[in-house]
């Protein structure tokens, strides 16, 4: 494969698959941009490479059966710092028109 998967230390900690709920529909593999989640031999979803998971939450949203849970958020230092400064949740301000902070997302 041409694409080399970037991994990051501490990635994917919150990603969890409830195999009992999984109906092997494949919706989660379809949307994962890093192939962090893949079908096992029985088609049931499993975590293939945890540190490739950037916890974007696409798989959990794509799952019609609620079999996947992940604490999703933007992995952007500028967003986290801006959130700390304002005492809010991480928010890079992209597209808000305030243009606060460095270029992001």
């Amino acid at each position: 494969m041409k694409t080399r998967s970037f991994t990051y230390p501490g990635n994917g900690r919150s990603l969890a698959v409830d195999a009992a709920r999984c109906r092997a529909c494949g919706a989660c593999f379809e949307v994962c941009p890093h192939a962090a989640i893949e079908p096992g031999p029985d088609g049931v979803a499993r975590v293939a490479e945890r540190e490739a998971c950037m916890e974007c939450g696409a798989c959990a949203r794509a799952c019609p059966f609620g079999a996947i849970s992940v604490e999703a958020g933007v992995g952007c230092a500028a967003a986290i710092l801006s959130g700390l400064r304002r005492g809010t949740a991480p928010d890079c301000g992209c597209g808000d028109g305030c243009g606060d902070g460095p270029p992001c997302c």
Binding site: P33, E55, A62, G75, D91, C98, G99
Partner: protein, 407 residues
Amino acid sequence: MPDPEPRSPRKPSPLEPLRPFTARRDSGLELRAAQPEPTEADFDHSSEAPLPHWAEGRVDTVAGRTLRVKSAPGLRDRLDLVRSRLVRRRERIRVAPGLYALGNPGTGTPVFVTANYKPSFDALRFALSHRDAWLLVLDTKGVNVWCAAGKGRFGDAELLRRLRASGLERIAPRADLVLPQLGATGVGAWKIAKATGRRVRVGPVRAADLGAWLDSGCVATAAMRRVRFGLRERAVLIPREIVARSGAFALALLPAIAFAWSAKPGIPPVAPGANLAALAARAFAWWAAPAGGLFMGLVAFPLALPVIPFRHFSAKGALLGAAWTAAWLAAARLPPLESISGALAATSVASYLAVNFTGSSTCTSQDAVKRELRIALPLQAAGAVLALLALAARMALALAGAAGGAP
């Protein structure tokens, strides 16, 4: 056209498709509160106004008139792309949300969903050249699909609202919806299918792969499903980083100038007869340290990302800063306090910029970045403070020396 949405108190004027932001920098919250979300396409498709440069005509549908867009890039589209890679407020490069026609779409022609960030919209229409398609542009406030999905703007609610407002229920009642894969962070395909009764397909990550995807009967290869972050993808990010941080290069001049003055007795102001060229050279010699740190963090780091030792971005950045420091120490040959100051400045600046690249990178999770920041940020801040303290100490010594008459 009947408006199924509750009317907002202040309806946007129909001829304001690209209303520029005029809010103050710090007024993000008030801005959101004061400007109601547009509840329908804020572009008057039926108007006889001049066509945008990317449109080639108008199309009449059962639900009103819309624009037929070009599928070949023009010079202005290319300029928009260049501009989007340079300017700070690229979210201003946008198109009006709503429904557009490409080619000659009919009642069963697939609907491709995208964001109203113009480069996203452009990538989609160029990828579908020589095909018929409906393009449904969501209001993402000029933010690309992936980022807007992460913030929920490219989301279930906006998609359903835009589907209703565009009249697609009458124009193409049973046409398939094709979602961009990176929109999946905000849009659940199964929810949309359930809510609309349509077949919803998840297209590839990159619009450029759409042709191959369609030709293969909507089967995506593994490569089409993966986000690439190769040298090219990283390199295009650099110009905008430099433009946005250009102030930092100038800011680093302030301590440099102060330091240069301090090196001469009789300051401030500069003593008469002082050798200004020598002062400038001294200022530059120190400035080269933080400026080099900026260069390492903004240019060298994105380019060399996969081959730099260590895995945490802050550590990779610190290593690049240290490498610059080694070269700088050898070249500048400043006295100990200045050397310590420059070394700390270069290293912490490069490390800080590197960890900030997590926002541009495609691979870091929020939790991982938070954990890293908890350790890296205090170290970077301490490095910067110590760098300034060392300079201040050098200045104090120089002043004391000048006052006491001893070197």
